[in-house]
């Protein structure tokens, strides 16, 4: 019922996502000390959670 696809998409895609976020902050091209870049970080995180949430709710609605 799509849970495997969801896990794969947000697992493998998420791995790439979080590794690249970590890399960008570790290498200093962004810094959480900087107010604008801190906001960008939160937008990135919320975007990931938002897409994940929409897909979870979508699957749950179809199951009903």
């Amino acid at each position: 019922m799509n849970w495997l696809q969801l896990a794969y998409e947000y697992g493998v895609g998420g791995l790439f996502f979080f590794i690249t976020v970590y890399l960008c902050f570790r290498e200093g091209c962004s810094s959480l000390d900087h107010p604008v870049e801190r906001r960008t970080f939160w937008i990135l995180l919320l975007g990931y959670i938002g897409y994940l949430g929409v897909h979870v709710i979508w699957i749950l609605l179809v199951r009903q």
């Binding site: 696809q5 998409e9 200093g28 960008t40 975007g47």
Partner: protein, 630 residues
């Protein structure tokens, strides 16, 4: 599929639309005075303008027909390819965008020379030019086929007869599909040649709006036709309501195959190696606006575009469930069938205009992008060096016309020889994974060497080409997808892994560049690149206010503001400031970047030199909006 659809009113609307786009795009010729204007629109535009124009470019020549077809067969999971871009957003927003913006590279091949060496640049030019010129031809071909399907031969047959073109010769060119491709090629070539990137962005803005409006109009009219949302939903089988297709059991549309082919093939190629998109984001007034544009595109506009391009297929599936159309309707025809059923005269014309908009907005971007590579990577560095900018602008226009014509010449080839069409698809599959690997390792891994980049492209490309001949090599990456469909989908993963392996092996066998030569081209040096771009330390911790000031002329090279305005903007002398038309909706069309000088102006004024005012197209005495960039 050659029958004529619609009414004279619909054809009138589409004819008017062609004329309007041609006139609207050509207006922006007066905003193009240099190659920087022609290729990057003077780096002046606001995020929302770039975001909408990007959506028109993303929705390509065959999107409405392709995704409606998938929506009909697989349901809501046709949206998968539009909803997975966020995974690449961090690397693009935090890494690639600031690198290309601050290092002032004008093309992907130029990045390859600066980050690696000249052989790597030449290899990148060959890969990108072959891919993009072929892609222009494919777009012309597919748009010709699409227009032929929905417009039939209205007018073109009489034109053929008027010019006494023999029917056999006409058919050998591709028939009506070629005729429609010629019409679109003429329109695009005229406005791209006149207005360059500004014309592309402005027409794509218009076309982006239109295709979203038309897609949603089709959805709402379809739901109304069916009798409401509940009836529409009940007409979709459960499998058609889910967000993802089967994981690996259906080789025609497997989730895991789409994930690798689309996300790590198409999407990454789109954001990291598509010259047209790179130029679009370089046209933003700042990196901050570029990031806002990416957020708007991926979080808001892509989901809307997914609905717009697929909706006809979803409505069609519900119609088939209720027996309105046959269950075995050809999926490729579903867009036209549903459009005709649910729309009225006039509205069908609007849908056709949206279809054409999707076609033109992709082709115009490609023509401008290929012209940029021809001028900046071939003509300027290798053929005729050290001439003034007007000379290169003239050649930019010549190349735009030339590549539009060349793309058109490929249409009869694609129409006659399916193998050429397939050869380009195979070449695209072979060239994109190595390019993606080279760009990503180039920006993230300091040790990655110039010769490793060269061999990543050449060796990676060859490895993928070999897999086309011997697909058995892809077996370890199949994820259980039945063959032969699985080979097509998982070739991207195979290409990424083989290219990555070559990159790592050659890197450890060859000598890297000195750290000092990498400034601005890898993510760990972005802060320094930003400083070099500005010519001093950035001042962007406090954004400050936007000020409404009166523009005055003075003999100064800098932008002179009054002390109170500087305080409110949290700006200091030497900061980069942006002077814009006070009306936000102009999007930066009349604007300029200047360095702030010592605050010596009278209260409420900003002083600029005559040449800067002329360049900005603002007028002395008018109110302008001024903001600090950094």
């Amino acid at each position: 599929m050659t029958e004529v659809h619609g009414t004279p009113l619909d054809y009138g609307i589409i004819f008017f639309y062609f004329l309007f786009v041609l006139g609207f795009g050509s207006i922006f010729g007066r905003y193009t005075r240099s190659t920087r204007d022609f290729f990057f629109s003077g780096q002046r535009f606001s995020w929302w303008l770039i975001a909408f124009s990007c959506i028109a470019t993303v929705v390509g020549s065959y999107s409405f027909i392709k995704y409606s077809s998938r929506g009909f067969v697989y349901g809501l999971s046709s949206s998968m390819t539009y909803l997975n871009d966020w995974f690449v957003a961090p690397l693009f927003m935090l890494g690639w965008l600031p690198i290309i913006y601050f290092s002032r590279v004008s093309s992907i091949p130029e990045y390859f020379e600066k980050r690696f060496n000249r052989p790597a640049r030449i290899m990148a030019i060959i890969f990108i030019m072959l891919y993009m010129v072929g892609y222009i031809g494919i777009n012309f071909y597919t748009l010709g086929v699409a227009l032929k399907a929905v417009l039939g031969d209205i007018g073109v047959e009489s034109v053929r007869q008027a010019f006494h073109i023999p029917p056999e010769f006409y058919q050998s060119l591709g028939g009506h599909a070629f005729a429609w491709a010629v019409v679109i090629a003429i329109i695009c070539a005229i406005y791209v040649t006149a207005g360059g990137q500004t014309a592309v962005i402005m027409t794509d803005l218009l076309q982006g709006f239109l295709l979203l409006i038309a897609g949603f109009a089709l959805l709402f009219l379809g739901v109304y036709y069916l009798g409401g949302w509940e009836r529409f939903w009940s007409g979709l089988p459960v499998t058609h309501r889910l967000p993802f297709s089967s994981f690996n059991s259906d080789p025609a549309f497997p989730h895991v195959g789409i994930f690798w082919q689309d996300l790590f093939g198409s999407t990454m190629a789109f954001y990291f190696v598509n010259q047209g998109l790179i130029m679009r984001f370089l046209a933003c007034k700042s990196v901050k606006d570029g990031r806002k544009a990416v957020i708007a595109v991926i979080l808001v506009l892509m989901p809307l575009a997914a609905i717009a391009v697929s909706s006809a297929g979803w409505i069609g599936r519900a119609m088939a469930s209720f027996g309105i159309i046959p269950q075995d309707t050809d999926p490729k025809k579903i867009f036209v069938i549903v459009s005709e059923l649910v729309t009225r005269p006039g509205i069908f014309g609007l849908i056709l205009a949206a279809l054409t908009a999707a076609l033109m907005s992709t082709v115009d971007t490609l023509i401008n992008a290929v012209s940029a590579i021809a001028v900046n990577d071939i003509w300027r560095p290798f053929v005729v060096k050290n001439r003034d900018d007007r000379y290169y602008l003239k050649w930019a226009r010549i190349f735009s016309l030339f590549f539009a014509l060349l793309g058109l010449c490929l249409v009869p080839l694609y129409a006659s020889f399916k193998s050429i069409y397939e050869a380009h698809a195979a070449f695209t599959a072979a060239s994109t994974p190595p390019l993606i690997v080279a760009v990503i390792l180039g920006m993230t891994w300091k040790r990655y060497t110039p010769w490793a980049a060269f061999w990543t492209l050449l060796g990676g490309g060859m490895a993928v080409a070999i897999s086309i001949k011997w697909p058995v090599l892809i077996y370890p990456f199949l994820h259980g997808i039945p063959t032969p469909g699985g080979f097509i989908y998982m070739r991207a993963l195979y290409g990424l892994i083989t290219s990555g392996a070559i990159a790592v092996i050659v890197t450890y066998l060859t000598r890297p560049k000195l750290d000092s030569e990498l400034t601005g081209y890898i993510i760990s040096t972005i802060a320094r690149a930003k400083e070099l771009f500005k010519g001093g330390p950035p001042n962007d911790r406090e954004p400050g206010k936007k000020m409404l000031l009166t523009l005055c002329e003075a003999e100064t090279e800098e932008g002179i503001l009054d002390p109170k305005a500087m305080d409110a903007m949290k700006a200091r002398p030497g900061d980069l400031i942006y002077v814009n038309d006070r009306r936000w909706w102009t999007g930066g069309l009349r604007s300029i970047h200047v360095k702030a000088g010592e605050p010596e102006a009278r209260s409420g004024e900003i002083l600029l030199s005559r040449s800067k005012i002329e360049e900005s197209r603002l007028r002395p005495g008018e109110k302008v909006r001024v903001e600090k960039i950094f």
